[in-house]
């Protein structure tokens, strides 16, 4: 039982990191990114091909190195960010809202079919696999997994502290201002594309990083593990926890992930109908997404705009204006600019 819970909570911790990455793009910047799971998958693949050594025929994949694990993680994240830089440059340059989502949806399917069919890259449909031990062996199976779980929790805590720090920093407030009103932020001298782009790269990097952790945990990965629909559970988790709030996102990830694994454990999955359990699970996720969006779109712990907990609630507008206008009537001034129809885009 202890092993069972360790396994579930390890996965939940890894997915919480991924969810925070997605939430930066979706919750903070307001860009609903459907290709985030491709970044996660790329992180998994890159980490594996950099650590598991040369492929043995008929398996084929690129690199095939035996790198030190942390070095492999760094390289994997760099590759993922470089890749996200291309997609982001295309999708964020002039496309917003549903057009952005459509572009990322196209991107994830194109990447998916490419990886599935082009075997020299990551062995195509069969995927890559290989046992590797970031600690270099010497521990028993159980001890290793407990240690790995503890490491994941510590990393999760570290990432959480970093992300919430950025969230309440001037950058965190600025990106939300850009999300809420691009024209106004632009009038106040903020570079809209650059703000969104940096958030996108950071979020993608976080997704790649969580993929690296997942690679060390799972040890085998093929395209069936990352069908683009797999990501929906994370959207549900973010919606339940609260978009734009790191605390809520971590909470939502644990609730939804553990909740779904536990709930669907009791659904009978007869041998003749192996698809029944997963299908019911997906239906529940779909329902959860729709119901949350309809009845509580801000989630369990709603985002607090501009609040860093110490200064009470302040609207982002006053924060903005303080540094740029030095005027007490800044709200009025900003309103006047918006009302006069200045279109900065």
């Amino acid at each position: 039982m202890l092993q069972y819970w360790t396994a579930i909570l390890t996965e939940a911790a890894i997915f919480a990191i991924l969810a925070m990455g997605i939430d930066m793009i979706w919750g903070w910047a307001g860009d609903f990114d459907l290709s985030a799971y491709a970044y996660f998958a790329l992180g998994v693949y890159m980490t594996m091909v950099l650590t598991i050594g040369k492929p043995h025929a008929p398996v084929t994949y690129v690199f095939g190195l035996h790198l030190f694990f942390p070095l492999a993680v760094v390289l994997a994240v760099v590759v993922v960010v470089a890749f996200a830089a291309i997609i982001g440059a295309i999708a964020l340059r002039s496309l917003r809202e549903v057009y952005f989502s459509i572009t990322t949806l196209g991107a994830v399917w194109a990447i998916y079919y490419w990886v599935e069919n082009y075997t020299p890259l990551f062995n195509g449909y069969n995927g890559v696999y290989g046992l590797f031990d970031p600690l270099g062996g010497g521990l028993s199976y159980n001890a290793y997994h407990y240690l790995f779980f503890a490491a994941c929790l510590i990393i999760l805590l570290g990432v959480y502290l970093l992300v919430s720090r950025i969230s309440t920093s001037p950058f965190g407030r600025m990106i939300r201002a850009v999300r809420d009103d691009e024209s106004a932020a632009s009038v106040y001298g903020r570079n809209v594309f650059w703000a969104k782009y940096r958030t996108y790269l950071f979020g993608a990097g976080l997704a790649g990083f969580s993929g690296s952790l997942f690679a060390a945990y799972i040890g085998a990965f093929n395209p069936l593990d990352w069908r683009p629909t797999e990501i929906f559970v994370l959207y549900a988790a973010i919606l339940v926890g609260g978009r734009g709030n790191p605390k809520g996102v971590v909470l939502g990830s644990f609730i939804v992930y553990v909740g779904f694994v536990e709930l669907t454990r009791y659904i009978p999955s007869p041998a003749a109908r192996p698809e029944l359990g997963p299908a019911l699970r997906q239906i529940l996720i779909g329902l959860l997404i729709i119901l949350m969006l309809k009845f509580r779109p801000s989630g369990l712990i709603p985002e607090r705009l501009g609040g860093d907990g110490t200064e009470g609630r302040r609207s982002w507008r006053t924060l903005f204006a303080k540094r740029t206008l030095e005027s007490k009537d800044s709200d009025v001034a900003l309103g006047a600019v918006s009302a006069s129809g200045v279109d900065a885009s």
């Binding site: 609903f32 295309i90 496309l95 057009y99 239906i283 729709i290 969006l293 885009s345």
Partner: protein
């Protein structure tokens, strides 16, 4: 050169079905301002409805087509009534995410009902025929002709009927249409019924052409429909039609000289190219710096 013409011939068949599917998708966007990610499932439902009609009730080809159309229409209306109308007034992005949830639900309901294994119709494929430079089966020709007929019917529906005129008015400005005395709600509902019917029929044609039906068959077609609609001009039926024909041909040519496994990669390349060059659509005049819904 003959392989080239044969692949163009297949491209025309796929493009004809794609045209129907993407016009339906674009009509949904036109009246409800929603990118319906559950659109693919309407096609799948049409395909499976015809399959059940054929295997269980032994209907013939034409009766099966009617069954697919009816089930598509009902699904379209249900989507509008239970989902789209409930999210009216919210951001278009929220509705998009909600349709994503609906797509997940419908797809997995189909998986539970029919299993993951592929099924196929038992209709006679007919004879191989040389038509000009093309090589088609009788069934393919029927598919192309019926797609053209449906496209013409949509044109007449939009341009010549009163409801079509009302639809165009609602698409331009729902509130304004409402105060002008057009029952916007019922027009939107009828548009979804029409779009659903066309999608269901397209799903039947697609199942017939590619020969296998699975619970994800429509979802694979969704991205192509979106690409065609966005490439041509989202929310505009005739530009969408042009986009679909172009995409169908591009894909079949790429499939001949490269590999059909990379179809969606080609489609995405096409989509990105369109969005970079003419983000408002290939066949729509005008230019916008930022494209938003």
């Amino acid at each position: 050169m003959s392989i080239f013409w044969i692949s163009i011939g297949m491209g025309i068949a796929v493009a004809a079905i794609l045209a129907l599917s993407s016009v339906a998708f674009t009509l949904e966007y036109a009246v409800s301002r929603v990118v319906n990610l559950a659109h693919g499932e309407v096609l799948t439902i049409g395909a499976y409805a015809a399959y059940v009609a054929e295997t269980t009730f032994h209907f013939n080809l034409y009766e099966c087509a009617i069954v697919a159309t009816i089930f598509g229409a009902v699904t379209g209306m249900a989507l509008n009534y239970f989902l789209i109308e409930r999210f009216r007034g919210q951001k278009s992005l929220s509705t998009l995410i909600a349709t994503l949830g609906a797509s997940l639900i419908l797809q997995n309901l189909l998986l539970i009902a029919f299993g993951g294994a592929s099924v196929s119709y038992a209709f006679n494929q007919g004879n191989l025929l040389h038509v000009g430079p093309f090589l088609w089966t009788t069934l393919t020709i029927r598919v192309i002709i019926s797609a053209v007929v449906v496209a013409v019917l949509i044109y007449i529906f939009l341009q010549r009927t009163k409801i079509g005129k009302a639809l165009r008015a609602v698409a331009q400005n729902r509130e304004l249409a409402q105060v002008s005395g057009i029952p916007a709600r019922s027009v939107v509902m009828r548009t979804w019924a029409t779009a659903g019917a066309v999608s269901g029929f397209a799903g039947f044609l697609y199942g017939e052409t590619i020969g296998t039906i699975t619970p994800t068959v429509g979802n694979g077609f969704l991205l192509l429909s979106i690409t065609a609609a966005v490439g041509g001009g989202l929310g505009r039926p005739y530009p969408t039609l042009g986009g679909a024909l172009m995409l169908g041909l591009v894909m079949s040519i790429a499939g001949t000289y490269w590999s059909s496994s990379y179809q969606l990669v080609v489609a995405f390349g096409f989509l990105v190219l369109m969005l970079l060059v003419k983000p408002n659509g290939l066949f729509v005049r005008g230019k916008a710096q930022t494209v938003r819904a």
